[in-house]
Symmetry: C2
Subunit: 381 residues, 2 copies
């Protein structure tokens, strides 16, 4: 009843048949297959594109995606073409579902081929993804009133790829915040997305989606402080319940405090990890360790079997580095975040500082706070 | 035969009966009991002192130390007095065998009561211990030509306390470098120590003992990068062979590189961890990970059962902080060492930066390299 009433008030209907937007999903990993499969099963027109030509050929041969889990069935795809331009032409919404390390490369393709009226959503943006995309367009003079640049705060699906055209959807989150760079576009964005996904809710702006990035708090730090365990025992332990031991939880609290301070420096409030556990799972406890331990949703979730994993390879450069960069810009001491980045650099023997996303990539290096707030509100280009 | 010849040449005899120095051992933990027990079993006059009065009473009641393991027997102690002054009066050599966190406090007692002709040896000094002790005396104007201030690079014994007056000596190292702050004193120091301990060999100076501190490389970093494992599984894994997984070994290589650079900045060369494993155990490998894995001496050594352990609580403030402080003074980038210190601060919720030993404590904050080299050579006070 409440749902029906809300739909009447908002004018939304689940999977409305009229004015169905068409989609192109970029990416054919866990995320891309789940999203494309979900859309196809709900009778939306979906193209899919990935830079891997072999995958494209296999998908073309299969002509669609087999979905298991929460949803079941074969979702027929509309167009499977190795040509990027053809894949996105004439679609209403481009859902980018790739690791954030690939955003820049995709952004450089998008700036060439995106047409007026199209909407681009990064699923998710990690930290600063939509701003980086916006900046790529800005540098080419391609910003237009009728192109929407948006990012989700986290990924909508919990899914695992079972084959080139097979995916299992374990869960679909009930609510995922999303925002356009120019936040006055959010009602329009939500209206478009809601026809396919009731789960998207508007965030205030991309500062909220980018700094409300909770997952990253649980990723690189927990992996690093369990390096020996992951590598020697192939992740044969419960990632949250055992990996976040009291000492690990303490480090997380300090890292998280820096994220909150960075958010405060740009004038916004984001929930702490502990608050988020309470909002999301009703977990309580006197400290983060206790709150994690009382989160039954974490029971049975095992650790990755290797440290060569997106929890480090994606989250360090695309979440921690941009947070540090933002913090540095606003004079916030991010020594604990920086320490985690440094140790990750040694562990992986890579320079995540230079690989990672910075305020320069986001196009706000020389912006003061007022300009940044005007940018995310949409007042200026 | 070779030993006999060497003894004739050097004039040393194992446990010579003439001119036997008398000792006071400060500390009654694993180290203090092993050292006092060893000396007493070799018929040296030994006092023992610890600030814990209950322990002193129990030791007084027992009148000596029961030793097991490599040595066996009951070593009778000479004097067991809660009074610090009485404990050290008239002894030739004061062996300090306490965690380095206690060096400052003991230094402040020593400066009041040490008499001309006495020799003080920190077992070990960790990084900068002897310099800090020397500086305490210097500030009080108590430096004298005939007082020796020295530090060992590592602890001579591998021992575990079994009770207030019971200790098991598992092993005695074959060779331990030792140096006086004024290195021209080293021949005199070695001559004195060798009557009781053939194992002490002269290091060039205290920069070598302090920066050749190999143990610290294996301690805080390995503990931190195994935090979840230690705390969730109570250290039920092989500390070296499992705890130093490939990713942990990579981080160790970077930390170790910084230590070597700091040593180079003060003009000395110290062996890398990998070289040290080869010298000490004949371990070979293409990288540190492989070298550790081929070290059979590490087989079966389990991890500590808690992160509230001297591997962090002592080694972070008394080895890593002074290394960072020295590095900073000489313009060496110690970002990886600093990152480990920062993460340790969060994990333990303590400020090791302010607790730790710095170039100021060592009395060399305003010294340039030439002055430091003159200091450790003994040219100046």
């Amino acid at each position: 009843m409440a749902d029906k009433l809300r739909d009447e008030i908002t004018g939304n209907k689940k999977h409305a048949t009229g004015d169905k937007p068409s989609f192109c999903v970029i990416g054919a990993g866990n995320g891309g297959l789940a999203m494309a499969g979900y859309l196809a099963l709900h009778d939306f027109s979906v193209n899919i594109w990935t830079r891997d030509k072999d995958k494209m050929e296999a998908l073309a041969a299969a002509r669609g995606i087999e979905v298991e889990g929460k949803l079941k069935g074969f979702g027929e795809l509309n167009k499977i073409d190795v040509d990027f331009k053809k894949s996105i032409e004439n679609v209403d919404i481009i859902m980018v579902a790739i690791p954030a390390n690939g955003h820049k490369e995709i952004g450089q393709k998008l700036v060439k081929y995106v047409k007026p009226g199209q909407t681009i959503v990064l699923n998710p943006g990690r930290t600063g993804g939509a701003l980086e995309l916006y900046n790529i367009f800005r540098k080419e003079g391609k910003i237009r009133e009728d192109i929407i640049f948006a990012e989700a705060q986290t990924f909508l699906f919990v899914a695992r790829k079972l084959g080139v055209h097979k995916v299992k959807i374990f869960d679909i989150k009930r609510s995922v915040p999303v925002s356009a760079v120019r936040s006055y576009k959010n009602p329009e964005l939500i209206n478009k997305l809601r026809i396919a996904f009731q789960q998207f809710t508007p965030a205030s702006d991309v500062l909220h989606t980018s700094l409300g990035n909770i997952a990253v708090m649980f990723h690189p730090c927990v992996m690093l402080l369990n390096t020996g365990w992951v590598e020697s025992d192939h992740g044969n332990f419960e990632y949250y319940l055992e990996g976040i031991s009291p000492g690990v939880a303490k480090v997380l609290e300090y890292i998280d405090m820096e994220r909150i301070k960075i958010a405060e420096a740009v004038g916004i409030r984001v929930p702490s990890l502990k608050d988020w556990l309470y909002f999301s799972y009703g977990s309580t406890g006197s400290d983060l360790y206790e709150a994690v331990q009382t989160t039954s949703a974490y029971k049975g979730i095992m650790a990755p079997s290797t440290t060569h994993h997106r929890y480090i390879l994606e989250d360090v450069p695309m979440s921690l580095v941009p947070m540090s960069s933002l913090g540095h810009k606003f004079g916030i001491d991010t020594k604990y975040i920086d320490s985690i980045i440094n140790i990750a650099c040694c562990q992986q023997e890579r320079n995540f500082w230079s690989e990672g996303r910075t305020v320069e990539d986001m196009g706000i290096k020389n912006f003061d706070l007022k300009l940044i707030r005007r940018l995310v509100a949409g007042e200026i280009v």
